[in-house]
Amino acid sequence: MMLPSGSAYDRIAGPLLAACDDDRVVIAASGSPALAFAAAAAPLKKKLTVVVPDKTLPEHLDLLGRYAVEVVRVPGELEKTHAVASTIEGTLLVSPKKPELARAAFSSSLGAELVEMIDDDGEKTVLVSPLNGGELLFGVADAFVAAGRPVETVGTVRCEQAEVSVQDGVVRGSSAPKGATRVVCVLDPEAYETRIELARKEGILVGMGSAAAARVARDEASEGARVISIVVDAGDRYFSVDRKFGGSREHHGNHGSNSDAPQEVHGGA
């Protein structure tokens, strides 16, 4: 958790809110982007309304509820949040149908930082990240394009959410910068396997989306490419996925019983 709310979206939430003249701000987002804006709004004295899809993970809703923001839950997928957010008083800063500001902010922050770090040797860089609305992946790629660096983007999506419309490098109305763009589907159990592997072998705990991207990045790197896998957020806010995919390792019955007879529970996926 190297950023205040624990995700890449911390990089853009503060600057975007600070640049907004309106004191009332609305965003339509889920998970980590929502949490980043909620955290940034308080010191800037912005009255923030966050419109989230009700499929948001319960741990994300719990954390979001602790910030001094108004949370509106909308049934269905993320796409549905835009229409509701448009009707709420205040400036609609970011939504799935309004990714431009976020994209530009990622380009000037994370994108510029990565361009700075990578040698200008004419070699192609492959960027891998969860696709989401494209704002992060394409925003970072924009910075590479602007600097005249060859770049390719690979976005990962959950196979389980195959209805996400990705055609010809266009996702939710946002186009990838020129250069080849691919979208790779990752199954949830595969992403989970990589989450566990990264935790146990590297001591790095990442979320499901970032785990999916890391899995794809590894495949890309095995072909000799220079790959940057963007870990979008900290993995400590995804424990419900462990319950879902990690099998039952819950343990009951020792509550209040004799501590001389400890029961051991072995972690294991």
Partner: protein, 286 residues
């Protein structure tokens, strides 16, 4: 470090050292890594051994993380009423968990670890964070240096919670060596029955071996309610979603700043915020 303008009385500065920014999400990354490295160096920890400690949380996460990264099995003993989120995170890192009786609190877990280690000599490396000087040394060489680098001569007060006491012992020693008029304040709960996770009421607890009262210029006893209210104010006013012990430390820092102002001083207070509230997320099992 971040300046906490919302808690500053006029004329004072209150700075927060945001320890949730460590890779493992808490201040415990520092001692955990140093405990492991020091034991590797001394030969107490060898490949194939299991790292064991009693921990109600953050040290467990940090040991699980660095143990995994360095290829050791990690065994953690904790009261059974630890949140399922915490258990889940520790299992994700592959740590083995042994439960102690929740009615006996963290001291019950300490006693159980000692028993397990005695029963199987050579099997475990007991990090023994309450008595291992590598704990406070991590803060002496790390936390304190970073604070000095950031604020230098301006710092007047240092405030940190007492759990193992490693943070306040290590940082306090180094700061007082840097300038002997810096006040070092340790924060404890105001009663042994409290709700400030991570903090210890020293008088009635197993006393940490590394705790040395003479390093402190003062102990601040924080009521649970004041700590919880302070944590709520921090998220409302600063967007900092921190744990209750961080709330208690900030409450202490604010009170101490007010008192110093009243005494005609211009305080520059540094407070250590140990962790983030995402550590304490609990979702009802369906």
């Amino acid at each position: 470090m971040a300046r906490l303008r919302s808690v500053e009385p006029e004329g004072a500065e209150v700075w927060a050292k945001l320890e949730f920014l460590n890779p493992g999400g808490s201040v415990k990354d520092r001692p955990a890594l140093n405990l492991i490295q020091a034991a590797e160096k001394s030969g107490e920890l060898r490949p194939g051994m299991s790292i064991i400690d009693s921990t109600s949380g953050n040290t467990g996460v940090a040991l699980a993380l660095y143990g995994a990264a360095r290829g050791y099995e990690v065994t953690l003993v904790m009261p059974e009423n630890v949140s399922s989120a915490r258990k889940s995170m520790l299992s994700t890192f592959g740590a083995k968990i042994i439960y102690s009786d929740p009615m006996d609190g963290s001291d019950g877990a300490i006693e159980l670890v000692r028993k397990i280690v005695e029963e199987q000599p050579g099997r475990y490396f007991y990090t023994n964070q309450y008595n291992n000087e590598a704990n406070w040394r991590a803060h002496h060489d790390g936390t304190a240096e970073e604070i000095i680098e950031a604020l230098g001569d301006r710092i007047t007060h240092f405030v940190a919670g007492i759990g193992t006491s490693g943070t306040v012992m290590g940082t306090g020693r180094r700061l007082r060596a840097f300038r002997d008029d810096i006040e070092v304040i340790g924060v404890e709960p105001d009663d042994e029955f409290h709700g400030l996770e991570g903090l210890k009421y020293i008088e009635t607890s197993i006393r940490p071996g590394i705790y040395d009262r003479s390093v402190l210029t003062r102990t601040f006893f924080c009521p649970t309610d004041a700590g919880w209210d302070s944590a709520e104010a921090l998220v409302r006013d600063e967007g900092l979603l921190v744990g209750h012990s961080a709330g208690a430390v900030v409450h202490a820092a604010k009170t101490i700043a007010e008192e110093a102002l009243a005494a005609g001083k211009k305080p520059v207070v540094v407070a250590v915020l140990p962790d983030h509230a995402s550590r304490y997320v609990e979702v009802r099992e369906s």
